[in-house]
Symmetry: C5
Subunit: 354 residues, 5 copies
């Protein structure tokens, strides 16, 4: 998880604004999808040639350019040139370990977020960087790899369902953010189920593996929190932005997605609290069990050690041991032993050890 941060060091010493991809290469080829629409018109184009999307820049309609794959410095550089993006922003787009932030550059707003997905096989939450450029009549989105999170939105634009076709690029940007945040709920649901499964396991049959799983899950929560927490500021920054790029009418939508973000953070906190409580319970159940083990050992040992001593005494080979010759000596001593044992048991019961 923290691996990406390492790779960051590859850039030390280079001039700022150098376009070098930092992170895992997740897509083979860069794929570009252009959707151009207004209330009446709709047009879509898929391409690998970056120049095909530049004509749309001039149209008055809303243009959404989606770029899958950020490893190709040439493609990113060309887009930056065409749309007038600052080289530091381009560098951020290609450095895939950014924490969520928002940068108002006057002509356009740059937003970076983390998209989460659950890798079922590795049982791990993976994270991908999504960058948005919101301009006067366009939105450019950059994903590390193509995902299907934006598909319902594409469908809504195509069919003209909902508000999206009637509103501007700021609403489109909101819709993209909303799609990312809505996706967090899916991840949380998944993690929530694991938390609950672990909890049941903890009560029915706590093992070392349970402990390890709790630790793993707890660390994932920390990671999640780090991915989502700064988004809060980003969205509240967008809502309060004095930029002309964001219309007043879109404000309430940003407030809405802000509420969802807080809800996500709240849920993460709840899971963290639950996991901490589970760790405490595990530890106290371990010490409880140790206590129980100790009690059994103590009861057995404290009953039989004295009795064994008594038996040892009458196993001595002294010539003159009067008891050995008594008619009822053996049975007498058995009775004495029984009495000692029973008294011990009473003592333990009074001490509530049994």
């Amino acid at each position: 998880m923290a691996k990406n941060t390492h790779r960051r060091s590859r850039k030390a010493g280079l001039p700022p604004g150098s376009l070098i991809h930092v992170g895992e290469k997740k897509a083979e080829k860069t794929k570009i999808t252009v959707i151009d629409y207004d209330e009446q018109n709709y047009q879509m184009k898929e391409t690998e040639a970056v120049d095909e999307c530049f004509p749309f820049k001039e149209t008055p309609t809303v243009t959404w350019i989606n770029v899958d794959g950020v490893h190709d410095a040439e493609v990113i550089g060309r887009i930056g040139q065409c749309f007038g993006i600052h080289s530091l922003i381009l560098e951020d787009i290609m450095t895939t370990a950014q924490r969520p932030k928002m940068e108002d550059m006057g002509d356009y707003i740059y937003i970076v977020m983390r998209m989460l997905s659950y890798h079922a096989k590795r049982r791990e939450v993976l994270s991908e960087q999504v960058s948005l450029i919101l301009g006067p009549n366009f939105v450019i989105s950059f994903q590390e790899a193509g995902g299907d999170v934006f598909d319902p939105l594409r469908e809504r634009i195509r069919t003209g369902k909902g508000r999206v076709r009637k509103m501007g690029p700021d609403y489109l940007a909101y819709s993209l953010i909303d799609a990312v945040v809505d996706n967090y709920f899916l991840i949380l649901e998944n993690l929530g189920e694991r938390v609950e499964a672990l909890e049941e396991e903890l009560i029915s049959d706590p093992r070392r593996e349970t402990l390890h799983a709790i630790h793993v899950l707890k660390r994932e929560m920390i990671y999640l929190r780090k991915s989502v927490w700064p988004l809060r500021e980003v969205i509240s920054g967008l809502e309060r932005a004095e930029s002309d790029l964001i219309k007043d009418a879109t404000g309430i939508f940003f407030r809405d997605v802000y509420d969802h973000t807080i809800q996500v953070i709240d849920t993460i906190e709840t899971y963290r609290d639950m996991l901490s409580g589970m760790l405490d319970m595990y530890l106290s159940s371990v010490s409880n069990r140790m206590n129980e083990v100790m009690k059994v050992l103590t009861i057995i040992a404290t009953i039989f050690i004295p009795l064994t001593f008594v038996a040892g005494v009458y196993g001595m080979n002294f010539k003159f041991m009067p008891e050995l010759g008594w008619r009822w000596g053996y049975f007498g001593i058995l009775a004495v032993m029984l009495t000692i044992g029973v008294l011990m048991l009473f003592y333990f019961r009074r001490k509530k050890w049994m």
Copy 2:
């Protein structure tokens, strides 16, 4: 408790403002109660047909529309249309896992809170969403299921007791919030009794079940805190609101309910501190008991193991063991053993183990 949050994921991919009920369906049918009053007049109507309450919108009198059940998208949608409520607000009303918040929409103010109730059988605190729409001459309240928390207020309006009939819809909204907050005290009283019962159990007879109950209660406190904490900001937001919908004269009442909210939060914090202290006490009582068990084992074992060894020595079958033939050998060795035992006891007493 955290279950509702999960269900939230059902909406991922849908356009914002989609009216889909998220949460448990708690009422069979939507029930609407309209109370229309001013200082002189009082009128009440119960209905299932949502359109019957629209005429009241035009009257200058205060109109309180209470809706029990938020699962029916049609009813909520109709009300929204008639009173001009934004579709995002309607979505929030139907998504029953909101955290308390306040949204000033200009023409009306939207408030959402959590109503708590104690389910005696499941020994669990349940939580229900209450939404309020405060307009120029009306208040609409939405509950997931009908409850009796607002009954005393209804009675006060009917009989004209107290201030409520003399004041406007902002005072009505305050009264509804006050009823919800007052209800928290009942829940807290219940929980407080459980905390104290647990505490006594902890001192008299701490068992594993006690530990589990403390953990459960502690988690419930966390949940409660999450439900109440944001309400603080909501009410202080209402008090400081620059909206015309809230008159100056109502300010002191909001300040009063604000104080109550803080008191609720304070009490929750106190219980949390108490529960944390109880956890510590449980753990240290476990380790104390372990210590005690160990001491008994050690005393018995360290006294008898050496004695058994001595007996073992004189149980050996060597041909030539002079002591075995002595006249007082047996009694002498018994005396030696007794001396060793007594010395050991003295040692333990000096070490304060007995």
Copy 3:
């Protein structure tokens, strides 16, 4: 301690501003003391009839009305009517579990604080609510039961010692707050002695009772902190208040009592830190002692168990055991045992277990 909060629920469902006493009834009868003074004149009156103090309202002199007992709704209501106090304020006066707060009502300022006293027999800190109403030429103070905390102030007014007779009602209000805060130092001194006594006990002879006492004291610190902490804001609010009721010249006095409050909070924090450290020390002393017990057991057992085994071997009844017939077999085996024991002791000494 938290009991009062419970009783609060009795009011759920009543209209706000209802005058119902919430809390323990601490005084039998309401006792009213009126002191009326300026630089030249001094007059004092004790009464049970509330109406006798109303004439003083009109006089230009400073009037201090002290009410002992807040359970009688009629008395409180009458005073409220006469001095024009808002019903919500009257409700707060009678609800004796308020957290400290300050409410500037324009014509008067309402202050509520907690007075602490140490109940020697129950070894518990008790808390009582003190309410102040600061008007243009009067101060009304409400106590749950009569206490002697204000006596030195009364004496100072009577004899004209100090500044009090030369200054206005705001200085009187300050003096009352100062008396309450000064009293906290007495309570803290008492608690500080208990903390130190516990600390010595912890070092000399830690027992389970010590642990329990630390927990009890720790909880009392939490309670104290909750009582004092909000007072800080109250006093700083008074100092910064833009009300005409508080003259500039009194500002420095409020700043002074503010410093004292912070000092009280600081001391409470110090004691809490000390108690936390003591808990840690207790736990580590328990585990230290367990360690020591374990070592003794281990030393005894690991020395004698092998020796007992050797004795057991030569206690077997095999027909053919050559050693048994040897002339020095017995003494030889004793020497072997001694050697084993001594080697073991060396091993333990090298391991620093002895």
Copy 4:
């Protein structure tokens, strides 16, 4: 350490501004030193008669009056009268448990700080109150006992080294604060050495005394932090003060001493973190050692207890036990025992217990 706070209660009930010394009496007699200087002139006078320093008040030169001993109400009162100091300030000077604070009184600024010294014999950090009054052309400093912390400054004034003779009383006040803060570094160095010594002891030979010393040192850090932390606000308050008493040119010096204060706080925090880490290490080393002890016990016991059982079996006196008559029975059983022991050892080695 917390003792002074207690004594505070002696004043409860007295009018504010009462001049009563609260704290330990550290000096026998009050000693007053007056230094009067400007760029050209320098004059110094030591006296016990307070009135001798009043003439300097009128001179245009900078006058530094240093008072050692604050227990004599008459002396303090006389100075207050002469220089027009508010009685609450005088009270603060005599109450030697103030937390650092700054009070801008218009005509003069009052500053109170804590001077620390290390008592080598009691191995304890002691704390003394230093008060400063910064007036238009004078500085009055009050110490509980004479110390040598200000000596280098006196020397610098006398010889005219550095800037001090060229600048006004605000620079003198700064120099006094700087001397106090510089002295903290000496104390910290001392404590730092103890922390490091303890750390080495912890690694080489952790004993109960080590634990106790860590606790003592940790508490001293808490105490230090409380003494230094508020000073930060005091100095930043002086820097930002809008008073005419502090010239713009002195601002950078206050900023410098502010940085030093933060550095002191940082170092204290570092030591606290180190001590917390050491506590954790101590506890885990205790539990590690317990683990080791347990393993030795377990290994010895689990090897020899079964063997002793076998020996016990063949020590039974049954008439008919065929093995006893076998020619190689004895050696056979010895071989069996050896085999069991060796197998056990293998098992433990595989379990990594040896």
Copy 5:
């Protein structure tokens, strides 16, 4: 690590602004490098004579003076004199334990940061102080020892790659800060690898050394955090500075390096969280293993102690013990013993101890 802070005490008593080197002397001789450039020209000079760099002060081109070694008071003093640097700033440059800060002095801005390097042999992160003076047309950088962190920047200036030759001294200052911050990523990568190696060691084979290494690494994280955390404020201060020395165009670059700083802090926090989790895991693995050891001991002891007792009984030498004479007594008793053992094993299996 904390050693430098100690040495600080050497200065107590000296007048502020005294030029005395505080810290380890890391370079033998002071080495000065001057680089003078604008878009067209480039000139570089290495010297030990401080006066050679003064002529550059007057040129309109950007001058970067790099000073390696801050122990020579004369050199630093001469530079200060020539460029008009305040003596307190010079003192800060020579006192090599400053926490990062920024001081806007009007004519120039002073910035101090910590440069980190990893000492492979001592396996420790070392820290060095880097001071920057940003003037109208010059930047002076002070390092304790010459490092190669600025080499790529020097190369970029020489070859004219990137933006640096086209921009002013503020961009140069930014580039220096950026080089320092980029270097942190290298350090973090190194530490990250150690964290991960420790984690694997913890899972595969946890030993006492692992625990110690975790503690050491944890403390290094605390130290790192202290070095980096204040830099955040420094850079945000530069970005928001109203000084003419920083042009608007450089703002976005400072924002960029600010983001990097936050990323560094985030990563440090992540590592700290991981290390804390690892400590918890270590402790619970120790207590788990103890539990396991206890179980083995208990199983062996509770099975064999009763059996040994039985054998002891029939080893007694009473004259009259009927069982001893029975034909199948011996085998019967062996069968009884076997049954007891098997029952015990069943009991343990049911208790899940095996």
